[in-house]
């Protein structure tokens, strides 16, 4: 994220070009959340498709409201290094239409809504680790609390004008620490508390629709240009454009690297591998893309592709059930992208800080990156685990074993994703031919 204070001599004026670009970038970031829903939704079994979609989708409701009420004020107001505050922004009540984000050419409203989209997708990312087994009510409460006590402070640390990590010089262009490591570590914390799916490592839990996964990954890739290129908050000096290029380059490299790893290791170029590799690349370039060159982006992407492909197998080795590899892709990818800034930062983009391979070959930036990564990782992991523990002890985090086995969609949403009744398009037993049966079935579904 771009710094909140600049040293420009003249006060910035509202730029309609930058404002228009940022509104589009905000919309692009929003589409990542339904994209994520499909990415995850395709990876679960038929019986939990809707729950997976809903766990992402609901974030667009809950986080939107709490971000409007107090999230933005706490994350981006100035107060101290740990948390922000600005009473004018509480409920967005005293923000002028043309009041600019300090040091920039876009209205505060635009910056606020752009950041809202980040706040929405981050908790949604966690849901992939919890597939099939978490009560929807508990999930809703969890993301509201998590966004408040984990996301908001971490966003302040990393991007707030007086955030401690920002002042230390930790580089996180668009959310490697605040979004990906944060969500990945939270996912790990929660699954260590709530435990494995019934049948983990015993029953086959294959993705039910890889085309949905590809659709979701494609939407994520598309939306990620808003996520990354938008994070410079304007386009007057080319850094946003560099970020756009690096996003594309790193993602391509990561996809190829993941596929190469799979071909060598498992003998096939899989569809899921292509989608996963692309996401791993997007994650890794998110923190680093403003600081590295396009060649550096290829290195970042390729390293992340191989490392994440290797990391997703760890769950089987260590026995934690990270259902859809949120830890393996987002946490590991985020760590790699953040730490590689310490090696590949050229000093010519977002910041003049250089990595080990450039400038005076100093290790200073790498240590700063380690501090940022370590702090977010530890804070998010511990607080998320405690939060999950408390929710589990009070309202209960998991559905019953019976409901989990028969399918969380029926138990929690009284719906099913697909109608497999009848053959040849549902001629046998379709509603048109047997209304009595259809009514009976509907009643049963609601009762279930």
């Amino acid at each position: 994220m771009a710094p909140a204070i600049t040293l420009a001599a003249e006060a910035p004026k509202l730029s309609s070009a930058n404002t228009g670009f940022m509104l589009i970038a905000s919309a692009l970031v929003l589409i990542m959340t339904p994209g994520l829903a499909f990415f995850y939704g395709g990876m679960v079994r038929v019986k939990s498709t809707l729950n997976m979609l809903m766990m992402s989708f609901i974030s667009m409701g809950i986080i939107t409201i709490l971000w409007t009420l107090y999230g933005f004020s706490l994350a981006f107001g100035t107060h101290n290094g740990l948390i922000g505050w600005n009473s004018d922004w509480f409920g967005l009540s005293h923000i002028g239409l043309t009041e600019l984000w300090p040091g920039y050419t876009i209205p505060i409203f635009v910056f606020m809504v752009f950041q809202m989209m980040f706040a929405i997708i981050t908790p949604a990312l966690i849901s992939g680790a919890l597939a099939d087994r978490v009560k929807f009510s508990a999930w809703c409460l969890f993301i509201a609390l998590w966004a408040t006590i984990v996301y908001v402070p971490v966003a302040h640390w990393v991007w707030g004008a007086d955030g401690w990590a920002f002042k230390l010089g930790v580089i996180d262009f668009a959310g490697g620490t605040a979004v990906h490591i944060n969500a990945g570590a939270a996912a790990l914390g929660v699954i260590l508390v709530i435990g494995k799916r019934v049948g983990f490592k015993k029953d086959p839990m294959r993705p039910h629709s890889l085309p949905l996964v590809m659709l979701g990954a494609g939407l994520l890739w598309f939306g990620w240009f808003g996520f990354n290129a938008g994070s410079w908050l304007g386009n007057d000096d080319g850094v946003g454009a560099l970020m756009f290029v690096n996003t594309q380059v790193a993602t391509g490299a990561a996809m190829l690297a993941w596929l190469a790893y799979e071909k060598i290791r498992h003998g096939a170029f899989t569809t899921l591998g292509a989608a996963s590799g692309a996401v791993a690349g997007l994650v890794a370039i998110t923190p680093s893309g403003g600081a590295v060159s396009p060649l550096g982006a290829i290195a970042v992407g390729a390293i992340a592709g191989v490392a994440c492909a290797a990391a997703v197998g760890l769950k089987f080795r260590f026995g934690y059930d990270d259902s859809l590899d949120v830890v393996g892709v987002h946490m590991v990818g985020g760590i790699i992208g953040s730490l590689l800034i310490g090696f590949f930062a050229t000093g010519k983009g977002q910041s003049t800080a250089t990595g080990v391979f450039y400038g005076d070959h100093s290790w200073t930036q790498l240590w700063k990156q380690c501090a940022g990564v370590g702090a977010v990782l530890a804070y998010s992991l511990i607080v998320s685990a405690v939060l999950a523990f408390l929710l589990d002890k009070t309202i209960g985090m998991r559905v019953t074993e019976d409901e989990e086995v028969s399918g969380i969609d029926q138990a929690e949403h009284a719906e099913s994703a697909y109608d497999f009744s009848g053959t040849g398009g549902g001629v046998i037993g379709s509603a048109a031919h047997s209304p009595a049966l259809a009514t009976a079935t509907q009643t049963k579904k609601v009762d279930a």
Binding site: P204, R206, H266, A268, T270, S276, A309, V312, F316, D325
Partner: protein, 112 residues
Amino acid sequence: MKLITAVVKPHRLDEIKEGLQAFGVHGLTVTEASGYGRQRGHTEVYRGAEYTVDLVPKIRIEVLAEDDDAEQLIDVIVKAARTGKIGDGKVWSLPVETAVRVRTGERGPDAL
């Protein structure tokens, strides 16, 4: 009469149909089926996790034939279905007590 049932690889369907038509068979029933024989299933890989899929896709072809034609028909099907590779499938026949053409009510060999 005999009911000849063949569970074979899906991509051999056209050859089998052509063989049966050349032999003079007027009708057949084809169903999508799945199963496994000696070769068992296959392995799929999702993010490095390997899943053994027992049931592989097959088609099930059913033909009614007169007793005298049954053996020859089985040979026709076997010849058309054979690829020489594992998983080519099986063909068997059963005695049939009666058959009726629904439209006309004809019975026995006339119904074929």
